[in-house]
Amino acid sequence: MDRLIFLLATGFARGAIFALFALSLVLIWRAARIVNFAQGAMALVATYAAFAVAGLTGSYWIGLAAGIITGAAMGLAVERGVMRFAPHDNPLSGVIVAIGLVMVLQSLLGIFFGQQHRPMSIPFDDSPIVVWGVPLLSPYDLFVLVVALAVMAGLSLLFTRTSLGLQLRASAFAPEVSRILGVRVTRMVTIGWMLSVAVAAFAAILLVPTELGLNPHSTDVLFLYAFTVAVVGGLDSTVGALVGGVIVGVTMTLVTGYLGATVAPIGVLVLLVAVLLMRPSGIFSMREVRSA
């Protein structure tokens, strides 16, 4: 029972990060109707920036801020410099460009930083806190859980309570109508990319130090899990990203805990296939449309 409680708690913390990263995929999907397969590689560039700046300044927090800013800058550069020129009449073109971008970015990271694992520091202890003899989350897990939930709450407020959020949502759902109403849609798409990659960078910087280890392929697994979360929750749904993150995080942790780490990806894959078979558009992707 103690083990189950520990695994569930850890699963929630991991799930929060998966949800955060999945949310970043949802943001881009909504803004540009692209499944950005380069999201992991772009977030990884930002993580390396965080690593480098933290090393230079000796401050985790300055490194974190630098990583998030680098993520936003990556979003800006990729949208303005690459994706804007991808043909929009074929949905595959954006995907192919993104895959090409993964190869370029990972190669560049390998050239500049090498293929070896780099140790990244964390600001809190990562040993589980023991409550009445039951090991629960570590202080770092708690930090991750709290900030991930805070970022998601902040994004929710941004989208539902601000003029910028209203324009972002409108541009995503109805770009032509938004343009007619005076919304600068191309600017909204750029902001969407910046926001999305900044969030992805944040998620990667939180997860890489304890779970993945920093190397040019660190975020491959994170992207895989977050993509599963986005598909499970519904690529259009922010609530789906949150719930999907918890489902995948807990599934992965339980499978790892009881069956071993090597079986975890299979568990997640089974979940993905099950959702795709039963509800291909995702659990939370639904909309009732009145016909007349």
């Binding site: 209203l166 409108a170 109508v177 343009r179 005076g182 919304v183 600068r184 009732e288």
Partner: protein
């Protein structure tokens, strides 16, 4: 008629000259020319495929113009982007009751009001639309896709009006609506245009409804203007009605 009753607003003058527009090199509009005087309601009539929607999309800069000009109050709109057109006073209500289905009624209106009104003025503008369209006020928290066809059309119209346009272009506002709702939408359009001195370009297949509120009608056939006359003249021209308008 409507141009005479202007209260605090002034309609814009729209001049469309030798407009040629096409898709993939195939022209849909052939050297189309006509104008709208300030405060005038002009019905743009014609069968399916006549080029009505293309003309409205050209006015909104949503399709590339091959040649010709569109001018608002004498200023060429050739280099104006779609998103800046609303700021110039041109509002388009596209067909298909193009409300943003994922946003609520209130959010749809606020979105349209964003750049025109700030703070308390925005609230007043939104409430002003609710006064015109009472049924929308009762559904302000409903998502756009939950509205009935008539409500969606009212929201699309209200959203355009909140930008305080000088020229309002509507594409088939009666499409798919029950006759009673069509009469209601047309009546509201007529009253609003009259009270604001608004210039209206109304593309319609429902000829009777359109001519009932229009000052003038322009008939398109296969992308060419075949008639430009007063609404009364068009309504009484049996040959034209049979040949191009199907009734």
């Amino acid at each position: 008629m409507s141009g005479v009753v202007s209260v605090g607003f002034r309609g814009g003058a729209l001049d469309i000259r030798d407009l040629t527009v096409g898709y993939g090199g195939e022209p849909v509009l052939h050297s189309v020319s006509f104008d709208l005087r300030p405060g005038e309601i002009v019905a743009l009539l014609g069968a399916n495929g006549a080029g009505k929607t293309t003309l409205l999309r050209a006015v909104a800069r949503l399709v590339r113009v091959a040649s010709g000009t569109i001018a608002l109050d004498g200023a060429d709109l050739g280099q104006v982007r779609t998103e800046d057109l609303a700021r110039r006073g041109v509002a388009l209500v596209p067909d298909g009751r193009s409300v943003v289905g994922e946003l609520t009624v209130d959010e749809n209106l606020r979105l349209a009001a964003l750049w025109r009104h700030r703070g308390a003025a925005r609230e007043r503008a939104v409430n002003g639309i609710y006064e015109i369209f009472g049924s929308l006020a009762r559904r302000r928290s409903s998502a756009g896709h939950q509205l009935s066809g008539g409500e969606r059309q009212m929201l699309a119209l209200g959203r355009a009006l909140i930008t305080e346009p000088t020229v309002l272009a509507l594409d088939e506002p009666s499409l798919g609506l029950a006759p009673l709702i069509v009469a209601q939408v047309m009546g509201t359009l007529r009253e609003t245009a009259a009270s604001r001195g608004l210039t209206v370009l109304l593309a319609e297949q429902n000829v009777t409804s359109a001519l009932s509120i229009a000052d003038r009608g322009v008939v398109l056939n296969l992308g060419r203007v075949v008639a430009d006359a007063s609404a009364a003249t068009l309504a009484n021209d049996t040959h034209l009605r049979h040949a191009y308008l199907g009734f």
